[in-house]
């Protein structure tokens, strides 16, 4: 898409191997698209984290996409900016990917980002990024949210985002109600432990088949059960059911 929109005035010089301008029409555009997609994905993940109850499936899919992009960028050596030499060595399938990134039949602007496709809660920050990309700045002079400067740092912050998202469900600290349940065992904060104790059926000790759920014989967290019932009772009182 960008490939088609750009003027190919530098095509003649490609064979000369002039690094600075080689492949101007295709590869840097692809890197731009890819960077834009990465930025968009990271923004989405950040927004995920800010939501009350993130949709786990969506988070996982976005995170996987980010990983894919970063892996490819590492392979390209693109973390430190597109080196002209590596541009020359870009294999054919990378060009195919350029087309496929936002495959379109026609139109200069089809693909990412098309302006009016339904409601877009991310319109604000993302369209900023889009403007960067569609301005066709060759050298990323306008810095995107995530600089390509330090790959490790980016990876670290990405990893941190991931952790935060996936741990939201696990260890979200109940600051407001801490006092209320201050005498409660800290292991309850990991709801997972409690539930594992409740169900008990996951442990291999139980008999096979459906008999397992008939009698959960001394599950690991059996003491949790009565306390949890008490917790439920307290909660019920609070919500006045």
């Amino acid at each position: 898409m960008f490939a088609r929109g750009l003027k190919r005035k530098c095509v003649d010089q490609e064979e000369d191997g002039e690094g600075a301008l080689a492949g101007f029409g295709t590869v840097p555009a692809y890197s731009l698209q890819r960077q834009s997609l990465l930025d968009m994905s990271l923004v989405k993940l950040q927004l995920c984290h800010m939501l009350v109850e993130p949709n786990l499936c969506r988070s996982v899919l976005i995170a996987n996409t980010v990983r894919q992009i970063q892996e490819e960028m590492s392979r390209d050596g693109a973390w430190r900016g597109a080196a002209p030499q590596s541009a020359e060595r870009v294999p054919l399938d990378r060009l195919v990917s350029t087309e496929i990134l936002c495959r379109t039949a026609r139109g200069p602007e089809a693909g990412c980002p098309a302006p009016d496709l339904g409601d877009d809660p991310l319109q604000g920050p993302v369209s900023e990024l889009s403007t960067v990309s569609s301005a066709q700045v060759p050298r990323n002079t306008q810095s995107s949210l995530w600089d390509t400067g330090n790959p490790r740092e980016n990876r670290g912050s990405f990893q941190k985002s991931l952790d935060q998202i996936f741990e939201t469900r696990e260890n979200k600290s109940p600051s407001a109600v801490e006092e209320l349940f201050s005498d409660v065992d800290n292991s309850y904060y990991d709801l997972d432990t409690v539930l594992t104790g409740m169900m008990g059926g996951t442990k291999p000790g139980l008999c096979d088949g459906l008999e397992g759920f008939a009698s959960a014989a001394s599950p690991p967290g059996s003491s949790c059960k009565s306390d949890l019932a008490e917790l439920d009772h307290v909660v019920e009182i609070l919500v006045e059911t």
């Binding site: 968009m40 039949a105 991931l162 741990e167 996951t202 096979d208």
Partner: protein, 448 residues
């Protein structure tokens, strides 16, 4: 809130449809989130974002009004789930009904399961058309009588009253899911059912609410390593030991509960090899399966991913036997659809009673039907503007590029906020229910 009584003419050549329509508008909490016929097709249940369940009942056929045969009218409305607050995590739990599943009818009452993100409830819907009168200790208004005034004893009698349909919660299955419940499925033994969330599947007995048996657990020890979630699950219609679950990586696993208590190792693994020519950064996202349904025969499963519907033979794991393109024109728009989050929309898919036609929704209030035998397909639109009473619904067409014919709509004009995610097909007749945001459309085959 809802609309009813459309008629369509559907034979294997997909002739145009006839419609009769009446519809009302609602607000945000009226957005329909699930639609399901019961096993006879007499009842149709819908769940919405506000936690309400509305049940429609089919009118008895009348010889006088052939053309009004079998309209669906509201039978019962009740609040199934309320918004809750999880104090341990400081998170709100939405009351939106994710799924409704009916139990087969075993007596005069109807039973259904309804679930939100965390809690499954068993509801009993029963009719009351008689009431006892002539109590000894209470008067007609229910006030206690002064015992001193009671001089005789009488036996209360049942007298007819206006039909009242009441819904009562009979079981509440709570506190068994850390993650969001996406599916429930009643087992063919009618004694158990399963509930699936993003990472786990639990097996319940209808009589026991304080315990469930965990049968699938794909949660990694380290959540940072999480790359795949469960997206849908269903029991086999006849074999009570067999179920399938789909994943966000486009795979389906069939499990046999006789093999082991924890079905983490599948019996069969269905995955189509990736087409290298179609590979993009969005490949994984669009391969994520949003719905999986067994055929009524139990021989096939149907899966829905973002752009296609696939039919798989249970005996062949390495690729589907049929693939249908729902809206392939969106393939070039994936970037935009990723940006506005539409790429994460979860469409459902349904079989007709004879497993010969499959149906699924799309955008712009379009829905698609595919005839597996003739390989013909049709795109229809659920909209009030285009439906007049007794009019024929025209098949719609999306024009991809180049010249747009008069009745066609171009891809860029599609309204992506109008999505049909939930549809249902009557178990034996050609009657379909289509949920378009907060409107319900019921289409019925017009005979002759």
């Amino acid at each position: 809130i809802f609309s009813f009584s459309f008629f369509f003419f559907l034979n294997n050549s997909f002739a145009p449809l006839v419609t009769i329509v009446g519809a009302l508008q609602g607000n945000n909490s009226d957005i329909i989130s699930t639609v399901e016929f019961n096993h006879t097709g007499e009842l149709l249940a819908t769940g919405d974002k506000g936690g309400r369940v509305v049940i429609f009942q089919r009118e008895q056929e009348s010889k006088n009004q052939i053309h009004r045969r079998g309209e669906y009218n509201v039978y019962s409305t009740f609040q199934s789930h309320e918004p809750e607050f999880d104090y341990l995590k400081s998170l709100e739990i939405e009351e939106k009904i994710n799924k409704i599943r009916w139990l087969p009818q075993q007596n005069a009452a109807y039973f259904l399961l309804s679930t939100n993100d965390k809690t499954v409830k068993l509801w009993k819907v029963s009719e009351r058309d008689k009431r006892p009168e002539g109590y000894n200790l209470k008067d007609e208004e229910g006030r206690l009588r002064d015992p001193a005034t009671i001089t005789t004893l009488r036996v209360p009698v049942l007298r007819p009253m206006d039909l009242m349909v009441e819904a009562t919660p009979r079981r509440v299955f709570a506190n068994a899911h850390t993650y969001h419940i996406n599916s429930i499925s009643v087992n063919s033994d009618y004694e158990t059912y399963m509930s699936a969330d993003d990472l786990r599947i639990n097996l319940w007995n209808f009589e026991i609410t304080n315990q469930s048996f965990n049968i699938v657990d794909i949660k990694p020890a380290n959540m940072e390593e999480l790359t795949e979630v469960i997206t849908a699950a269903e029991f086999h219609p006849h074999h009570c030991n067999t179920f399938v679950y789909s994943s966000s990586k486009g795979t389906i696993r069939l499990c046999d509960m006789r093999a082991s208590a924890l079905c983490d190792r599948h019996t069969k693994f269905f995955e189509e090899p990736e087409d290298p020519s179609n590979r993009s950064f969005f490949s994984e996202i669009i391969s994520s399966i949003s719905d999986v349904k067994f055929s009524h025969s139990g021989r096939y499963i149907m899966t829905r991913d973002y752009l296609t519907v696939k039919v798989w033979d249970l005996n062949m794991e390495n690729r589907p036997i049929e693939t249908y393109q729902v809206h392939d024109y969106l393939r070039s728009k994936l970037c935009s659809l990723y940006e506005n989050d539409c790429i994460f929309d979860k469409f459902e898919c349904v079989w007709n009673g004879s497993d010969s036609v499959i149906m699924t929704g799309s955008y712009n209030n379009f829905f698609r039907m595919f005839d597996r035998n003739t390989k013909r397909d049709v795109t229809l639109e659920a909209s009030r503007e285009n439906s007049k009473p007794r009019a024929i619904l025209k098949p719609r067409k999306v024009c991809v590029g180049g010249k747009r014919r008069k009745d066609e709509i171009s891809v860029d004009s599609l309204d992506f906020s109008k999505k049909i995610l939930h549809t249902a097909w009557h178990p034996s007749e050609n009657i379909i229910a289509v949920a378009a945001t907060n409107n319900l459309y019921i289409f019925q085959d017009k005979v002759n």
